[in-house]
């Protein structure tokens, strides 16, 4: 295993995200953004790991991230997403949502758009806990249970779903271009369809049994009905949102809260999770389906089992390996990606063969040879 080195950055890292690469040039990811939390003065920073950057970064160990620029951020950075090549959106603990623009030529950062107190209580601030974007639309969720839709170029708010949830919404992700999925602290997944005008979810899914808060959610890149969630008890659940109330598979992943779960964007047989217990796991499933997954046919729901057991062998074309639920048969391999126990790993992002993660031990780890 290639040694993965820690870079100590004097700030607890709450989020790290790769800048999206333009597919036309088949670039390797070289720039990532990070956000800090729990500091007197929090910051967002842009880092480079490639051979880009000015000559001042010649020295230093190959592959060690070099700081390009940073900017003060008001409040903890609770979520961070790239809107496009130059702009990021951050969710703040003050309830504000901000769009920052990274000027590559001068290596400076400016504020492009700022919605202060987007999430709020009547007298208090409510932290904005999650943000997801599909340029130019931005959707944010917060502890106040609101879902807000913005447009990056407009000053006002496009739509607000008031009291979408009576508990804190921890994360949000797009299911389709007009549908989003949120997870909350009473263990529910809610589907929201923006085409509808009503302020209630189109579907609610939850685990039977204890209402464990869910902290993260991610959608399978190719199959839009497959969603993975992670929660307070560290269990990884894979759901099929077409199939109603219960998850397809439950796997014990971590011994403490799972903060982030990510499918690999181009190689979705690989999944990555990170947790408060200081570990980062790489899950690899081998899809033994005879038909390649991109040749899936239409629905064949009558043959889909509702329980979390492997369906009968005949209809393999529709079943992603994630839904087989039968991890005891050795189809699922897990490996630790960090060399030793650290403080909580708060965030991770993976793109092509590069993985970046940030910890409460004020360290950033970059691995450029992830086996995918």
């Amino acid at each position: 295993m290639e040694s993965i080195n820690a870079k100590y950055v004097s700030q607890k890292i709450s989020k790290t995200r790769w800048r999206p690469v333009s597919h036309s040039f088949l670039q390797q990811p070289d720039i990532f953004a990070s956000g800090s939390w729990d500091n007197e003065h929090n910051k967002i920073s842009f880092w480079s790991i490639g051979s880009h950057g000015s000559s001042a970064m010649e020295d230093g160990f190959e592959g060690e991230p070099q700081l390009l620029c940073e900017q003060k951020h008001d409040g903890d950075v609770l979520d961070l997403q790239f809107l496009d090549q130059d702009r990021i959106v951050t969710a703040s603990s003050t309830g504000a949502v901000t769009v920052f623009r990274h000027h590559q030529n001068s290596q400076t950062i400016s504020i492009a758009q700022h919605w202060a107190r987007a999430h709020h209580y009547p007298c208090d601030n409510a932290p904005c806990t999650g943000v997801v974007c599909s340029s130019p639309e931005i959707v944010t969720v917060g502890e106040d249970g609101r879902i807000i839709v913005f447009r990056a170029d407009q000053e006002g708010v496009v739509r607000v779903i008031e009291n979408a949830d009576s508990s804190t919404i921890h994360a949000v992700t797009y299911l389709r271009t007009t549908e989003i999925l949120t997870v909350n602290s009473i263990g529910q997944l809610k589907l929201w369809d923006f085409r509808q005008q009503s302020n209630s979810p189109s579907q609610i899914l939850s685990l039977s049994g204890d209402r464990v808060p869910l902290h993260c959610v991610d959608r399978h890149p190719n199959q839009q009905h497959i969603v993975a969630t992670g929660g307070q008890d560290g269990m990884l659940c894979v759901w099929d949102v077409r199939q109603g109330n219960t998850p397809f598979s439950l796997m014990e992943a971590h011994s403490a809260e799972m903060w982030e779960v990510h499918f690999h964007p181009t190689n979705p047989d690989h999944l990555f999770t990170c947790s408060e217990d200081g570990s980062l796991l790489h899950w690899e499933t081998s899809s033994h389906s005879e038909m390649p997954s991109f040749l899936q046919g239409g629905r064949n729901s009558s043959m889909m089992s509702r329980s979390a057991m492997a369906p009968a062998g005949g209809n393999q074309s529709l079943i992603s390996a994630w839904l087989s639920g039968d991890c005891s048969k050795g189809r699922l391999e897990t490996s630790h990606m960090l060399p030793s126990q650290t403080l909580s790993v708060n965030s991770l992002d993976v793109l092509q063969q590069c993985l970046v993660c940030g910890t409460d031990g004020e360290a950033i780890f970059v691995n450029r040879q992830v086996p995918v």
């Binding site: 004097s10 009576s166 409460d360």
Partner: protein
Amino acid sequence: MQKIPAVSDGKHMGFAWGPGDILVYETLHKASGSGSSFIHEVRKDEDIYSPILRKLFNESHHIFVGLQTIREDLPSKSRKPQFVSISKNYRSVIRACMEELQQVAVSTKDGEAATQYGNQVSILLAIELIWNLCEVLFIDAAPAGSLLLHLLDWVRLHKADVDEKAREVLQSDSPAEHRDYWDVVVSYVLQGRLDEARQMLMKQATLQPAARNMYKLMDTLLSKMPFFNPSGTQTLTEFDVKWRHWHEEVDRCLQDNSFASNKHLEIICKLLLGDEDILLDHKELLGTWYHFLVTRLLFCHPTVKPAELHYYAQSCMTMFLDSRSVPEPLDSILLAAFEFDIHQVIKDCSIALNNWWFVAHLTDLLDHCKLLQSHNLHFGSNLREFLLLEYASGLFTHHSLWQLAVDYFDHCPEFGRVYLELQIERVPLDTERKALKVLRICEQRQMSEQVRSICKIMAMRALRNNRLGSALSWSIRAKDAAFATLISERFLQDYCTRGTFSDLDLIDNLGPAMLLSDRLTFLGKYREFHKLYEEKRFTEAAKLLLSLMTAKIAPRSFWMTLLTDALPLLETARSWFNSIQKNQILMTLTNCSFSLHESVTEVDLQRLQKSDYFSSV
């Protein structure tokens, strides 16, 4: 010492101690009259707020945690190399920090900041120097023979300017004629780097072909100086004999004036014999008394034993320093180390430095090497634990580094837990995410009281902001039945005032959490009754309603509401209640009317009594 700008001359100053700082304000010692309206915060320890030093704290925390997990049952032979390697890790972290501070000190334009960085660099240099010496003497505990070699390495590491000068000389057009040339050669000799000295001398030799023989002789002498090889087969006694032979040979060369015509070479020859006066002539090149000590040992007594060190150390220090100058703290610390007085070293370091980092980590490492006898302080804890507690308490005052402190408290067996319990409750909980992390820390250590109090704080906050779902989720985490009851009461009150339920997504999906408290169960079941009613499943609705009445989990204030809900079911033509059930309703009514006179309205009573089904009973 610094003057605090808070208080103007002649005024009085009031103050209050905090965990890591003091609050200071200006005051007048009079009953009336106004003082200044400002309060100033004076921080004692600026180091933990320095971004570069923060890396030191984080990296050393990582090393510390790794050290605690070294297995105790391995034989000490295999543990020593591990401890040495851990000690080197700590030192490399200090060096990395130092280098970064140095770079910033050089590149900054702010004069005051540059001075501050410079100060921090010199403190770190001193710390690394002391740590390195402790590693050599205590952890590695080298015996006679290797001891001198380690001390030579120690001195060489901390006298890097020789290499700089040498580089300068070598890069000049004619190195042998450079004005620093002989300084470099002598410095090499003083540090025992004889091969490099020989190489330098060769440059001079080529310039003076007439003195070729003299230079050859010097070269031979330098090349023949024996150095002890710890991994070789030669014993210490054999080495000693060989060394004495060499020493005699050098002495002979000096006595028969082989180097008389070249004063530089003669000086080198005398140095090789360990001539104290000549050594002291080169105070500037030596720089420090401990360099003087090591060089003197190198050329007089290379087989020095650890126990003999302190005689030499004391005499060297006296000889080197002016009789008028007072030894600096660093000097007394190093002297204490040479005397193998570990406790004195730790004590002096604690006084000299303003941050407990160094003493805490060093003492912890020494304790693992079983070098500290338990030095009981008057409140019963041992030295290592005391220092770790002080250090960790200081960390806890930092808004961010408090997480590191938790691990330090974990490894203080006597008082760590108590300290943690007291401190963890004071961490400000601004966001749910932070509260979750603090909770996880408490749960992992079974601090149930702290768990309950944190959950209660968060639940109250949620309740105040009308986030009933969040409040419920916090009370589930704490298994706090009383709070769950409180939340259910809120819901039921809401229902009574508005006639509908709020937050249906929560009540409809309570799941097993419903069982946390009776009131909550009642709420969930009551909502279920409404759902059944809306779906027109009246038999089941009736049954459920009845069980709610008879199971006595309904709050008294709600009994009338339940009875009122029963009315439509009773009044319709179809009988949704059988006779037994009707009896039960009647009993409930009777109980109700006796205990809640005010809430029973005449109209309701009459309605019930007039109802056909009761008249037929």
